[in-house]
């Protein structure tokens, strides 16, 4: 590719103001000597000038208000989501604490309970584990159903 062809390929970017100083200098130097490139460059300048002058389509006035409302609704939904997460965490902490506290309580009252229920110590431990598992499963089921319902409400809202 000779210098003329190389510069010819740079004319679009020169008109777009997208060349570095060195390339721009080369183009300007060539334009001083080459009539054909000057004419071509003038055409590109007219086109880029026309692009800069294109009228700006105006956003409809209601768009700002609509977008603001959408942002408020989204922010409200996110706040509710965060609150739900916090409450869920709190409940989980409470459930674990209650479960762990149950064990020393069981040990403390083991004598009276085995007598009252008329079961052995091993049976009492098995009953306690069963009770805890049942309580956790019931809680998980309730949380799952609640979450599913909220999700459906969110989709249909």
């Amino acid at each position: 590719m000779n210098e003329h062809d190389a510069i010819h390929e740079l004319l679009t970017l020169a008109a777009a103001g997208a060349l570095d100083a060195g390339e721009q200098g080369r183009v300007e130097e060539h334009l001083r000597q080459c009539e054909a490139c000057r004419t071509e460059f003038a055409g590109w300048l007219r086109l880029t000038g026309a692009l800069k002058e294109l009228p700006t389509p105006q956003a409809p006035p209601r768009l700002l208000e609509q977008t603001r409302r959408a942002m408020e609704m989204r922010a409200e939904a996110q706040r509710a989501h965060r609150t739900n997460h916090f409450m869920l965490g709190l409940m989980l902490l409470f459930a674990w604490t209650a479960t762990l506290l149950n064990w020393p309580l069981l040990r403390l009252l083991e004598g009276r309970l085995t007598q009252w229920l008329d079961v052995s110590s091993g049976q009492l431990t098995a009953m306690w584990v069963g009770y805890i598992l049942l309580a956790w499963m019931a809680t998980a089921l309730a949380a799952g159903l609640l979450g599913h319902r909220r999700q459906r409400e969110g989709v249909t809202a």
Binding site: E9, T12, L13, A15, A16, A18, G43, W44, L47, T48, A50, L51, K52, E53, L54, P55, T56, P57, Q58, A59, P60, L63, L64, Q66, T67, R68, A70, M71, E72, R74, A75
Partner: protein
């Protein structure tokens, strides 16, 4: 002039403070920034998708995403570049859903004559001629592939630097240059083809 120069630093400080408050999730700050960029962002999205109703939807989606990801914005970067990057992603997601095969399919123009507001300073005949020229140019732009329309509108209408375009579109600078070069050539070809069929000598 002096007053203008004096108010400029204040405007810059106020703008930075709005952006800082936006990062903190302040809806009022977001609304003020939205007002500031409304026409430019809408124009960019309209050039991308061609349909005013879709551009409005994407405008909303863009600001919802801005609120959602505001904390991720790096204040050392120009806010405009980041904002147009978010809008770019929203538009590209829409175009991918609509055109899963290719993003380079030509789109019909969504422009109306009413949107091409004439300059109040020009005479009525000049206004009509300017409208006609602008109409031809926007029609020709609408026939270009999305990637070409995007780089043209960011460079010439948004007057963004190539580096800013590269950041907004997450592209290497060289790719932006090549795309700009090809876009201008393609636009010229379309205009020549249109004038050849429409203008009688």
């Amino acid at each position: 002039m002096g007053a203008l120069v004096e108010t400029m630093p204040e405007a810059a400080v106020s703008f930075e403070s709005e952006v800082t408050r936006l990062r903190g999730g302040d809806l009022d700050a977001a609304a003020r920034l939205m007002e500031r960029y409304q026409h430019r962002l809408y124009r960019y999205l309209l050039r991308m998708v061609g349909q005013p109703a879709t551009a409005e939807d994407l405008f909303q989606q863009t600001w919802l995403r801005v609120m959602e990801h505001a904390r991720r914005y790096d204040p050392r970067r120009p806010f405009e570049g980041w904002l147009f990057g978010v809008a770019h992603n929203a538009a590209i997601d829409y175009l991918r859903r609509r055109q899963p095969e290719s993003l380079d399919e030509p789109l019909p123009s969504g422009e109306t004559r009413a949107e091409l507001a004439p300059s109040s300073e020009a005479g009525i005949l000049e206004q009509l001629l300017a409208q006609e020229r602008a109409g031809q140019l926007t029609t020709a732009m609408a026939e270009l592939p999305t990637a070409f329309r995007e780089v043209l509108t960011l460079r010439f209408e948004e007057e963004m630097k190539l580096e800013e375009i590269a950041l907004a579109l997450a592209l290497p600078l060289g790719t932006v240059k090549t795309r700009l070069h090809r876009a201008l050539k393609a636009l010229k070809r379309v205009l020549e083809a249109e004038s050849g069929t429409r203008i009688t000598p």
